[in-house]
């Protein structure tokens, strides 16, 4: 297992190096990092100083190599606004991880529950209802749902019943002066997590249902029933474990993608996470921030895929042996 993990990690390194150069080159030729200074009345002097300071007069390969050498030794450089990129990324990651953790936890619990029940009670009212809701969830744009949820659960009730404050908040993750896990945090978290999970639950519950149906029709399940095992044992002890395998893969892929940025959710709910950081850096052509974001996301993609493979092996001994 350790050799497997080591091989996977080593194989990722050249990919990351090549990706970093491609992104560096792409951002440099696309954006002008000195754009904001060109409209200054003192543009000539400022631009000359900044060009030298940022090394923009050097060949692109040299610029990339200088950046890469600093990056791997822990110096992630400064943003165009003079902020430390590592601090910015760490802070943004903290916010995004909170959203992802709660989003994935709730999504997994609900998606598995819905998927299993839908499969066990196939063609029931529950199954049809949640099938319909899933399609609506998949089709619904996140930004639209987010704004609707703000209206229905925050602004609407506050105005209708003249409340002192809305039942759920939608700006940031804490009120001013608050911190930690408390009811204020829950009230702030509810709407962004809801916006985040509506599509994920829809997709995952479908995957879980399909996988569960596939497993429930297998011969060994028929054998288990024939042996006289209770339905609950058949479903949860024998079927579910195998039915989780496709969901595990999907979860790993989706979680890695989420780490890259919950751009829409973070924009609407004013959460300063990775997605918002990336969007602002992209608009400004802030190559140091974009590259840091890219590499952090890439690392998480690799780690989550690795985790998926490991969990796969834990769930299915046949894969472990292979």
């Amino acid at each position: 297992m350790l050799r497997f993990i080591g091989r996977r990690l080593l194989a990722s390194i050249p990919v990351l190096i090549l990706a970093s150069f491609i992104v560096f080159w792409g951002v440099r030729v696309t954006f002008d990092p000195l754009a904001k200074f060109r409209t200054s009345r003192d543009a000539g002097r400022v631009i000359a100083e900044k060009t030298k300071e940022l090394g923009l007069d050097r060949p692109i390969v040299v610029q990339w190599w200088n950046w890469f050498r600093e990056f791997i030794t822990g110096n992630w450089g400064q943003s165009l606004t003079g902020n430390d990129v590592k601090d910015m990324t760490t802070r943004a990651l903290g916010f995004t991880m909170q959203l992802i953790f709660w989003g994935m936890l709730i999504s997994l619990i609900l998606a598995i529950a819905i998927g299993v029940y839908s499969a066990v009670k196939q063609y029931s009212v529950f199954d049809y209802t949640f099938t319909g809701l899933s399609y609506i969830g998949i089709a619904m744009p996140v930004f639209w749902f987010a704004l609707l949820s703000i209206q229905f659960f925050a602004v609407g009730p506050k105005l209708r019943w003249d409340l002192d404050s809305p039942p759920l908040y939608f700006v940031g993750l804490h009120s001013t002066g608050q911190s930690g896990f408390n009811m204020d945090y829950v009230r702030h978290l509810a709407l962004p997590v809801m916006a985040l999970t509506v599509q994920i639950i829809a997709v995952w519950s479908r995957i879980q249902r399909a996988s569960m149906l596939d497993v429930l029709s297998a011969d060994y399940i028929r054998t288990a029933r024939a042996k006289g095992l209770g339905e609950r044992t058949v479903v949860f002890k024998h079927a579910l474990r195998n039915a989780l395998l496709p969901l595990v893969s999907q979860t790993a892929v989706d979680a890695a993608a989420l780490f890259g940025g919950l751009i829409i959710t973070e924009q609407i709910f004013s959460i300063p996470g990775m997605g918002r950081m990336f969007l602002q850096a992209l608009l400004q052509g802030d190559v140091n921030v974009i590259l840091a974001w890219m590499l952090v996301t890439a690392v998480f993609v690799i780690l989550f895929n690795l985790a998926a493979d490991i969990i796969y092996g834990l769930l299915d001994p046949r894969i472990r042996i292979q």
């Binding site: 754009a35 904001k36 000539g44 002097r45 400022v46 404050s165 809305p166 700006v171 001013t176 609407i268």
Partner: protein, 583 residues
């Protein structure tokens, strides 16, 4: 087995409910951020002061103050708080933090319909303008009560330090404001004497952009490092307590401020990335004030109604959005074509379409913004109204003929051009579309090319790679400065290291001298006369077509009371120190 499992489930449920009850209970004693507190129970925490000499000890709310916290929604987080550094220059940063925590020799006050400079409480009176040894000299007499928040008096050394940093420091965004200052005499702590190397009519702007910096805290230190992430000093009614990047910022009352004490204990800023969410937060009372940009979605939100409190729209702004015409590039290198272009457009109809919902319906008629009406002819371009007959007579007289497609042509060349503007700006997209139709009706063929701001302002406008561009200029002081964009010496060329900002290549005989007078003449009447004449010449030549004033907007919720108005330089919450929270 079932009974045991049932008991376990009940215990687990009870534990969960207990946790939730505990979490609910922990909020009961917290103060909601918009709830008024009485004077005796002010909850201001001791602000963090980096120098360790903070003097704003928590205490009861001063007499006359309402206490409590006012929350402001900020549409754009600033990059840094070192205002003179290259990372500075954020409008919202200035509105939210700079003007609340700094001092300057002049305030911007409204006198009737006009904005003027007025000596602030930093000084004992108006600065003295004189000529010493043939050189222009300005003497500031400092108010003996003026102190920093650590109790240190403000002296002429602070004036000298600030000048020295801008004029000689590294990584300064714009040194031009102090370019003509030759020396500063701080031998008398109560008087700062500035000597200029040449006549400078904009001397009142010297400290308006950056404010004063504290020499006793920064002398010999890295100013940018000390300020960029937030600074502990203040000479204004508030002190910056913290800046939580990406989330918000907090100001607390400066108890050492020598002027009127701020009424609220705290001012909280919350950053918003989405305009719709910003308006929702205002409606829901999560923020008490917002000052959105005049974009279509903001205007839609206003028109949708349901906004609490008071709305203020100010069209008397420092902004001019215009159609900037490249006078050196065909077909607009021909004055006749430029004039025909101007007569092809119904500018009032465009402005009405964009801003009619908020009561702004008339186009601007000067390249000087409305706040500089004293130094401009605000009707200079008023003659350019939609007149297709005039368009036809001008163009046919110039040898153009209308083709079967309704577009004029001359010598086999169609009267076609490209309009460039910034991408991602819905208001400008709509403006471009309306223009395209109006111009087509008049016989022009216009294509639209949207560019990223960085590309447009960085790579296309300076070298003149455009025919017409749609964007705005904003005045940040009350001094006219058209020479930077309209004097021929500022056309980008090797003479100015290609850094000139007369991107339209305007070169109208007589204008350079008039604008030079505006820059150097200290007699306001003479300046105004020269500025108005320059306006008339520029309009006659139709160098560029002004369009709309980009109004400023402010929305003030029901929980606060005060004088709600928009200061054209200092923004919609310029006087937050004077607002109260209704009990």
């Amino acid at each position: 087995m079932k009974t045991r499992k049932g008991r376990v489930a009940v215990v687990a449920l009870a534990a969960g409910l207990a946790l939730i009850a505990a979490a609910c209970g922990s909020d009961d004693n917290k103060t909601d951020n918009t709830t008024a507190t009485t004077a005796a129970s002010a909850t201001t925490a001791a602000p963090t002061t980096g120098g360790g000499t903070g003097s704003n000890a928590p205490g009861s709310t001063p007499a006359g103050a309402s206490g409590g916290t006012i929350t402001i929604g900020v549409e754009q987080e600033w990059d840094c708080l070192d205002y003179m550094g290259s990372c500075g220059g954020s409008t919202y940063g200035a509105w939210s933090v700079l003007f609340a925590t700094s001092t300057r020799p002049f305030d911007f006050v409204k006198d009737g319909d006009t904005w003027k400079y007025k000596a602030s409480n930093l000084l004992t009176g108006e600065p003295e303008l004189s000529t010493v040894g043939g050189k222009q000299t300005v003497t500031y007499s400092i108010n003996p009560k003026a102190v920093w928040n650590d109790g240190t008096p403000i002296t002429s050394t602070d004036f000298k330090y600030t000048w020295d940093q801008v004029a000689h420091g590294t990584d300064i965004y714009d040194t031009s404001v102090f370019r003509d200052v030759e020396s500063v005499d701080d031998s008398d702590p109560a008087k700062a004497v500035f000597t200029f190397s040449k006549q400078n009519a904009s001397w009142k702007d010297l400290f308006e952009t950056y404010g004063l910096y504290p020499a006793h805290l920064l002398q010999g230190k890295d100013r940018n490092a000390a300020a960029k992430d937030g600074y502990p000093w203040s000479a204004g009614p508030f002190v910056l307590e913290k800046w939580d990047k990406g989330v918000g910022a907090t100001l607390v009352r400066n108890d050492k401020y020598w002027g009127d004490q701020a009424k609220p204990d705290k001012v909280e800023m919350k950053f918003f990335a989405d305009t719709a969410a910003e308006f929702q937060a205002f409606k829901a009372g999560e923020v008490d004030v917002i000052g959105p940009q005049p974009q279509l979605d903001a205007i839609d939100a206003i028109n949708a109604g349901g906004l609490p409190g008071k709305s203020v729209v100010e069209s008397n702004t420092g902004n001019v959005e215009a159609l900037w015409v490249n006078n050196s590039k065909a077909p607009f290198d021909d004055k006749i074509v430029r004039q025909a272009f101007a007569y092809s457009i119904d500018r009032d109809a465009i402005v009405n379409k964009l801003f009619g919902g908020i009561g702004v319906t008339k186009a601007v008629n000067s390249l000087n913004p409305p706040i500089l009406k004293e130094f401009s002819n605000q009707d200079a371009f008023a003659g350019y109204k939609l007149d297709k007959a005039k368009v036809d007579s001008l163009l046919t007289g110039d040898g153009w003929a209308k083709g079967s497609d309704g577009i004029y042509a001359k010598g086999g060349q169609k009267l076609a051009f490209e309009l460039k503007t910034t991408s991602g700006n819905k208001r400008r997209e709509l403006t471009a579309q309306i223009l395209q139709q109006q111009l087509k009706d008049a016989g022009f063929e216009m294509t639209i090319n949207e560019q990223k701001s960085s590309d447009l302002f960085g790579q296309q406008l300076p070298p003149g790679d455009f025919q017409v561009a749609l964007y705005a200029q904003t005045a940040t002081t009350l001094n006219p400065g058209l020479s930077t964009t309209q004097s021929s010496i500022n056309i980008p060329s090797p003479a100015n290291n290609n850094s000139g900002t007369n991107w339209t290549r305007t070169n109208v005989p007589g204008v350079d001298d008039l604008l030079a007078t505006v820059d150097t003449e200290t007699d306001d009447a003479k300046r105004a006369d020269a500025a108005k004449k320059a306006d008339d010449l520029l309009a006659a030549d139709m160098v560029t077509l002004p369009l709309d004033p980009l109004p400023n907007m402010g929305f003030y919720g029901d929980k606060i009371s005060g004088d709600f108005s928009i200061n054209v330089i200092q923004g919609p919450w310029w006087n937050v120190a004077d607002w109260s929270i209704k009990s």
